[in-house]
Amino acid sequence: MGSVHDPVGEPTFEPMIQIDMEIKTFVSAWKHCDYVSTYIARMISQNRSDSVRHSNLFSSAFNELLEVAFRTRHADGELACRVSRYGATDRIELTFPCMPEERQFYEEAVLQVVGFEAKERYLNSVSGDLAPSREVVLLELAVDYNAALRVEEADGDAITLVVDLPLEGLQH
């Protein structure tokens, strides 16, 4: 991929696809998570070395993020999903409405993910909890998909979860 590095040293991700919708529409049906993750996964996987496997993995990871956004308790605002690419890494930017106190929750969750014991914490959660918390969902992305995560502020009461997925490298 012919991307160049910007002055800060962060590589330039090439935009691939973007879907925007009213959060109200999105949360009106659970199956939207499945639709959107499946659709986008297929679209962006076509020129990966193994499109079918890439699409399956991508959809699997992306669906979890959408489910997190789905469970947000807000009735107003926009959901924006953007996927961009730099070499073997696909970047998902998921923007959704979020109150300040919740934003703090995501920021802390993402910090935890970076921690050394991420894997151990993930294991403990599987053996201990009844249902996965949002934090664990993010943790799992790091543990099982080698994802790198961060949170960015977005306009209005919204945040953007930025998730870099190096799925191409995860294949055979």
Partner: protein, 392 residues
């Protein structure tokens, strides 16, 4: 791309004979109650088994964390309540996330083991995949292509279609089709990573576009239903001990009104002159040798029956014979040398054949080569082509 499937998307089953609980499809519930019956089935299965419960997730395409937790919870609780019980979770190397995700369970409870089901999809995999078969497949495809390029349009091949080549091997056929017929998209699937690597390298080096190589198991593919106008599967049904399972998958991914195209051999009908007798004897033995390893290289003429039984209509069957007169006679001879190497070599040894048998067995191949190279000789390798339409 096929329209999104709205129907029930997963299935859970318990097979008491094998003590195996399996769950397949796409499992993405919003709330755990949606899984009620499947979770009950798992609990019930745990209550009945002794020793080991197999949990088969090979055909699980997707499962969200909510569902994963619900199933894991039951298994982990059972381990704690019944230390006598062991769980073996069977994942698939094809579905990338399953081994990672389910693999974690063994780190939680020692009584859970996770096995990636991978090798031995078909009985002779070792011989054909690891053996020196790649160059032979190449030459074989070159020889059959001379015939198939004229035959394919009678079986649904035309420009602009969406097609799949299942068990694509090193991808030569897909490349030839791409050049000759320009379909809009080709998905080419195989279960040999080394063959796919080779295919991808060729694609890069020759800057070929429009072919998507994918790693998969032909008997349970991640491909969606009703996607392809034409599904080809060449020289491969004959190497599976249960070809009907593969055909079922080919049918599933084929569009209604689309066609499935298969080619197979009837090895005992390989022929040559002079030395016809020796040649005939050896190729009869080839068929028996493959049968010993549960492969049916006599499948060619049975194609019609297989296609009918799989639900196809408008079935078309034809045969052609690759001969020493087609093109480069040395190609023909090279292929036979390679067959002799594998059949009279590794395979015969594995069956435990004695020296005397092997000598006579080899002689037939040598005679076939002799016939091919003989100035007045004739040597042939017959192929059966068949296709059927998936009803509208």
């Amino acid at each position: 791309m096929s329209p999104y499937n709205l129907h029930a998307r997963f299935k859970a089953q318990y097979d008491a004979n094998n003590q195996e609980f399996s769950i397949s499809g796409v499992v993405r519930p919003q709330a755990i109650d949606e899984l009620g019956p499947s979770l009950a089935l798992l609990r019930d299965a745990i209550g009945r088994v002794r020793g080991v419960l197999y949990v088969n997730v090979r055909r699980l395409a997707q499962m969200n964390n909510a569902a994963f937790y619900a199933f894991s919870r039951i298994i982990i609780d059972a381990c704690r309540a019944r230390p006598d019980l062991k769980f073996v979770v069977i994942t698939s190397s094809v579905v990338g996330w399953t081994s990672r995700k389910f693999g974690r369970l063994s780190g939680i409870e020692p009584n859970i083991t996770v096995e990636e089901y991978d090798s031995e999809f078909y009985p002779g995999q070792g011989f054909l995949e690891e053996g020196g078969f790649v160059p032979i497949l190449r030459t074989q495809t070159k020889m059959t292509w001379r015939h198939e390029r004229a035959i394919l349009p009678r079986h649904g091949m035309r420009p602009g279609i969406v097609m799949a080549d299942i068990c694509c091997g090193i991808g030569d056929f897909a490349v030839l089709v791409q050049k000759e017929f320009q379909p809009s998209r080709i998905v080419a699937l195989d279960h040999s990573i080394s063959s796919l690597d080779y295919a991808r390298r060729v694609m890069r080096e020759f800057d070929i576009r429009g072919i998507e190589y994918t790693y998969g198991d032909a008997s349970e593919m991640l491909l969606d239903e009703e996607q392809f106008d034409l599904v080809t599967c060449r020289h491969s049904l004959q190497i599976f001990n249960r070809p009907e399972l593969i055909l079922k998958e080919l049918y599933r991914i084929c569009k209604p009104g689309g066609r499935v195209y298969i080619t197979n051999e009837k090895n005992s009908h390989c022929l040559g002159e002079p030395r016809a007798e020796s040649i005939r004897w050896t190729y009869n033995e080839v068929a028996k040798l493959f049968a010993h390893f549960e492969m049916d290289v006599e499948l060619g003429p049975k194609s019609r029956r297989y296609l009918i039984e799989a639900g196809f209509d408008d079935i078309r069957v034809e045969t052609f014979t690759v001969t020493n007169l087609d093109g480069d006679v040395q190609d023909f001879a090279d292929v036979i040398v390679a067959w002799a190497d594998v059949y009279a070599g590794e395979m015969a040894t594995k069956r435990g054949d004695g020296a005397e048998f092997v000598a006579r067995f080899r002689q037939g191949f040598q005679d076939h080569i002799f016939a091919a190279l003989h100035p007045k000789g004739y040597a042939g390798w017959p192929i059966w082509v068949a296709s059927g339409r998936r009803p509208q």
